[in-house]
Subunit: 451 residues, 2 copies
């Protein structure tokens, strides 16, 4: 198959990311099995329903490394309450021959894990038009819309954009990522016409972007509804909805940066199947807090969110003590291991610390208190206000981290410890965390380095 | 003599700062000698003139440690040009029996140095009302105004305020001080009624103060004319003039701060005759640049101004390299020695330095250049923009000072050297500079410490 406008890089990427014939056949086979099991059992309950495949498998935009599929069971003549609280019973019964885990995000669903494949079975209400209720009600309409727009060439263009967004670290609408969803990759490809055209457009994006694939949106009204969104993409199945509401300004900027660099010099390293890391010349000291806990008992979103918050708090604490944080990061295997890390310009501070005092306009008691404390501890001078200095109380970043940890044990769990890493020596760190530390603090992605 | 409203502290201060009977008699004697010499000779030239004593001697507000006097020769029937270029000849001729130096500030004048006394002989035009020309033309009117307002008690109140302003370091209208002149001390005492009342009022001053001793000023108009002045004091002899135009916000704030502390606990240490220093517990490292030059050949104002500028530049340079300057100071003996100094939280830096790079909205060439440089030198990461880090190039404050000095030798003279002082060891410093360093960097005034 040859499609217009692609360069050799993109053709080479597609060879690596397009699902294989066997993969698609296996997934289709699994779909048939599940569908038949559902149909048989649910019909026996006297329920009225339609079964549909959804998501990237159904839309033909699946990537080779994803062995996954969504199967929606659209019930007729039921209400939302029934779906939320009653629907899982009949579904679980129908799938009792399969290995099933039940999950819950915005709505209840089941996951069938079959020979490495993950098949999400999602109950929803059958609707003639996009529901204004649960987000899941829009999914069938998204699937139909995208299918109607994509031929094989365009499906591959979507795959390129997904792989690009994944490769640069901007893929995923989860709260701890706040990047671009798969549907977003599809809409942008449709709106701009191809992967290359989308990258070109993204490279010219500003801090506030409006994209309307079907030209049906009211920009003013949407900007009023989504004042915090740097990117508004009008949902073709619901013109009052910003399909890009999850995208943060940081991830928008990342996409713009990477697009500029890709256009400047296209390379395999921008795509997820080829993503690699380049080692930095300097290894900054890193303070790591390593924790053990039962993280598998919580929703992953919650754990990631807590870690993200904790990493920012630790960086702020270190900064308040006079250190210079470079980068903060966090990681969990979603099992029993979690960690946060902050790299620093230096993990030791020498000398005195400066204290800003009151100015002349403050009341005399404040002024006296400051003068008294500073003379007791170190020194004092008058500039545009009073200033003082004293010998630093905590000069090791590790000590700051330990005392911060003592005050915030609840945030991460009780079995945490602080580790100071100097010169990139990761020997004190549990194995699964080493790759995370190496990637986050001692390397950059090769797409950023390959200029 | 007993005057109302004074405490024992103020009485004790006055005993130390009031000129002695002998001092006043000697000054009067000197005045008579000079006056007679001037009268004889100038009359012989056929000039028409009046001789008047001016300044604090004439106003009765002299301090004991000042052996000085101003003698004005007010010529009638001459113009400004004549005063500026012709008047010094006849004056010098009249005073040829005395040791005379000629000086020039805004106008030409002669200084007679007689047995430790300094008598400035100033030519000016005789005027019926305050001249709008040279500032010196207003002096006789200032003298007359202040004399008309002060009895002996009030003159002592002025002495207290002068001594207070001197003691806290806010006295002097010179450009490198930007504080309160003697005339200002007189006007504030007159406006508020006593030293204590003036200090009380000052302790309640805000960032923008308006004082009008004779209630003749137009506040709106004066604020329009002097938009930068934090303090406006209407000149009683010229209502359109702000007599406090020299006062900076820093010196205003200093006066407010000291007034608050004095009211809280009055003490001798606030007054110049009793000013002392208290040693700090910590001795921060200090970078000093010591220079030799012919500073006596320049107007002192110019030298002080240059040193002030240089000290601020050096502090900024050190800050730009990552150091934390505490306090900057400067000193000259107005002869052949000058110096600037900056104290620091630490005179050594460890670790990496952080470099802020372009954001995603910048053009790709800037982005590429930054990425390339940072990967070459150290490290890189993406936050809200690109950031980089690298090993510091200058880690010793002394090295920064030396390279700054090499680039700015013109500012201070060619024979300068940078000295790093650690732990208060002043052995590498020429004697006359040691007291300055000790005072500025290792001590605070005892009025600030005595709480």
């Amino acid at each position: 198959m040859s499609c217009p406008g692609r360069g050799p890089i993109e053709e080479r990427v597609l060879e690596a990311i397009r699902p294989t014939e066997i993969q698609l056949r296996l997934l289709s086979r699994a779909y048939d099995l599940i569908r038949r099991a559902l149909e048989r059992s649910l019909a026996a309950h006297g329920l009225d329903f339609v079964i549909e495949p959804e998501g990237s498998f159904a839309k033909g935009t699946l990537l080779r490394d994803r062995w996954e599929m969504d199967v929606f069971v659209l019930f007729k003549g039921v209400d939302e309450r029934w779906v939320l609280s009653e629907s899982l019973g009949p579904l679980r019964e129908a799938l009792q021959g399969f290995p099933v885990i039940s999950k819950f995000s915005e709505h209840p669903y089941l996951t069938v894990s079959l020979m490495g494949m993950e098949i999400d079975v999602v109950p929803a209400i059958y609707a003639e038009r996009p529901s204004t209720g649960l987000g899941v009600g829009r999914t069938p309409f998204h699937t139909r819309y995208v299918r109607s727009k994509l031929d094989n060439c365009m499906a591959d263009e979507v795959r390129l954009l997904k792989s690009f967004l994944k490769g640069i670290g901007a893929y995923g609408a989860e709260t701890h990522v706040r990047g671009f969803s798969g549907y977003m990759a599809e809409l942008l490809t449709i709106a701009y016409g191809s992967f290359r055209a989308a990258v070109k457009a993204m490279s010219e994006w500003t801090r506030r972007v409006f994209v309307d694939p079907e030209r049906i949106g009211n920009r003013e009204e949407l900007e009023r509804r989504y004042p915090e969104s740097p990117l508004i993409v009008v949902d073709p199945v619901d013109p009052m909805r910003n399909a890009a509401a999850a995208v943060s300004e940081d991830k928008l900027a990342l996409a713009v940066l990477a697009s500029k660099l890709y256009l400047h010099r296209p390379s395999l390293s921008f795509f997820h199947a080829f993503a690699d890391r380049v080692e930095l010349r300097q290894r900054p000291p890193v303070i790591v807090i390593v924790c053990n806990g039962k993280y598998y008992e919580e929703p992953p979103e919650g754990v990631w969110g807590r870690l993200s918050r904790a990493s920012r708090m630790l960086a702020k604490e270190l900064e308040a003590w006079g250190f210079t944080p470079l980068k903060a990061s966090y990681f969990t295997d979603e099992g029993s291991l979690a960690a946060i890390g902050v790299s620093l310009a230096s993990d030791r501070l020498e000398g005195l610390e400066v204290l800003r005092g009151p100015d002349a306009w403050t009341d005399v008691e404040n002024i006296r208190a400051f003068i008294g404390k500073r003379l007791e501890e170190g020194g004092l001078w008058i500039g545009d206000r009073l200033y003082g200095f004293r010998g630093r109380r905590l000069t090791e970043a590790g000590s700051v981290a330990r005392s911060w940890l003592a005050a915030h044990s609840k945030l991460l769990g009780d079995t945490c410890r602080a580790v100071s890493i100097s010169g990139g020596d990761l020997s004190g760190i549990p194995g699964p965390l080493r790759e995370w530390l190496w990637k986050e603090f001692y390397t950059v992605p090769s797409w950023l380095a390959g200029l």
